[in-house]
């Protein structure tokens, strides 16, 4: 076993970017700790059990072409569904068009998408339900204050959060030093896109559709219908996950009737049966993904006056978008930390 050496790194956020950064640092022998606000790891790679059956209600499938990323996926101890989604319906624009370009690998896991972040997190010290509310320089270190009164301290802190959350947390840095102000301004130049998602479970008489994913053309409401139960070996029920367009999602974040409206559109686009689930669970992704015009080339590693370092990574901080970009940005940041911080 490697002895942990070098400056300790505190990673805020246990999504794929944060876990990939922490994993790479830990594999290189660095002491690392991950704090996560939610009750589980994975961020938008989110799987939930609905009536005992896993349902992916965030990222619907994984895709990429970076050999390192594909190798990381190959290590996940889960049943791979290579090429998923195979059967497509509709000529609408996918959330990430590059997912369907030549050379891109697509896949899902029978156990659910979250198999990937859970594998990344294996063996890492992750503290759940730890919500950072402020970051303050403290000599050569950074002190992270947590909701409820606790605190953590490290010479290197990584913000692996949605850009808006990182922007807010950077706003708590007193001063702020020019590097922090600049990073805040950079993050403020573009907004993430929202996504209202609805898990819909159908009665046994509903015939499962022949497609895996449907990108309807001509709907201003529904961007994607995922036939999620088609990923499962022997599903007890047909499950769809309906995802709304970014603008519609933003405009309806506070509309309590959005699940009904989204279902109604699902019925119009997919077929009347789709509007009548026997069970439904809504989820609001306020920061579902960045828009591709906001893409950055690399993560940030800010030097603070006292000598501490503040890193930023996430899907916006690498070209290409999606889970692959999140993973790559975390790795790239870990690489820079290993090179620049003894």
């Amino acid at each position: 076993m490697t002895r942990r050496e070098g400056s300790r790194v505190l990673v805020l956020g246990a999504g794929v970017a944060g876990l990939s950064c922490a994993r790479a640092l830990a594999d290189a022998g660095r002491p690392v700790e991950v704090l996560e606000r939610a009750r589980g790891v994975g961020g938008r790679c989110a799987t939930r059990r609905v009536e005992g059956q896993p349902v992916d209600f965030g990222v619907a499938f994984l895709h990429g072409r970076d050999p390192g990323f594909l190798a990381a996926l190959a290590e996940v101890p889960a049943r791979r569904l290579d090429g998923w989604p195979v059967a497509m319906l509709g000529a609408g624009r996918p959330c990430q068009p590059e997912a369907f370009t030549p050379g891109e690998s697509r896949l899902a896991f029978a156990e659910g998408i979250s198999a990937f972040p859970r594998h990344l997190a294996a063996g890492l010290p992750v503290t759940l339900r730890a919500n950072a509310v402020a970051v303050e320089p403290e000599g050569a270190a950074l002190r992270v204050r947590l909701e409820g009164g606790g605190a953590a301290e490290a010479p290197v802190v990584v913000l692996a959060l949605a850009a808006e959350q990182a922007h807010e947390l950077l706003g708590t840095v007193p001063g702020p030093p020019p590097a922090v102000a600049s990073a805040r301004a950079l993050l403020d130049q573009a907004r993430s896109q929202a996504c209202l998602a609805l898990i819909a479970v159908y009665p046994p008489e509903a015939q499962p559709p022949a497609w895996h994913c449907c990108y309807p053309d001509g709907s201003r409401v529904l961007q994607l219908a995922v036939h999620d139960s088609s990923k499962r070996a022997a599903p007890d029920a047909t499950v769809l996950v309906l995802q709304a367009h970014p603008r519609w999602s933003r405009e309806h974040l506070d509309d309590p009737a959005w699940p009904e409206r989204l279902l109604e559109e699902g019925g119009r686009v997919v077929g009347p049966w789709a509007a009548r689930p026997r069970h439904q669970e809504p989820h609001s992704w306020r920061h579902a993904r960045h828009d591709r015009s906001a893409e950055l080339a690399a993560p940030l590693l800010l030097g603070l006056p006292g000598g501490a370092r503040l890193g930023l990574c996430g899907d916006r901080f690498a070209p290409g978008g999606g889970v692959e970009a999140a993973w790559r940005s975390g790795r790239a940041l870990a690489h820079r930390i290993l090179q620049e911080v003894p």
Partner: protein, 249 residues
Amino acid sequence: MRQPELDPLRALVQRDQDHECEGFGAARTCVRVVAVADLPTRFGHFRLVGFWNNRDAKEHVAMVHGEVVGGEEVPVRLHSECLTGDVMGSLRCDCRDQLTEGLAAIRRHERGVLLYLRQEGRGIGLINKIRAYALQEAGLDTVEANLALGFRDDERDYAVGAHMIHSLGIRSIRLITNNPNKVAQLTQHRVVVSDRIPHVIQPNEFNRFYLETKARKSGHYLEAGGAGRLQEQADPAVVAREAGQEPKA
């Protein structure tokens, strides 16, 4: 009229009709010569060579003066597209004068090539450049922010440039640059660099702004700024010491 079958540049179009190689650089970009025409310009007469590449819709071109196919010690200048400078005459950078001087330098030699590389940084290069400028305005630009904005990807430019030099059948080049590191970058891609020619702005009718601003020392945007200053071209020109100095070549 020029006989098409005798013209070495046009022969490259035929040679490259189904060229495909492993490609250059991290993106494994492969280019092919696909079109050639005369281009009389206000900077002199050139031949314009159009390249097709296998990665994106960017149409890289070469401005060619004299006979270069199969040539040795051919003067070559790499210029990276800069819409704000080259086209709009931005005072935030000196790209337009650099380009003008690059073309003039080629013309002063017996032969030479200016490679015009169509990539403002990466995919969303121009948009991120505008964002970098917006940070500058707010006094918030830093090296970190500019790195994150991907400004700019010299490595890729030089990989494509190297393939273009090979495609033109040029055996060895004299690289017009003030940055000796760029010689190494091209050498990595198997380009034989026999010599380096300093990129010196010669006073002429076209670079009045560059010279006046440099001379007055009042050009805020041309000042060598802090760490965060954007470097639009990999190797900026320097101004000749004496106005009216004769070209060396």
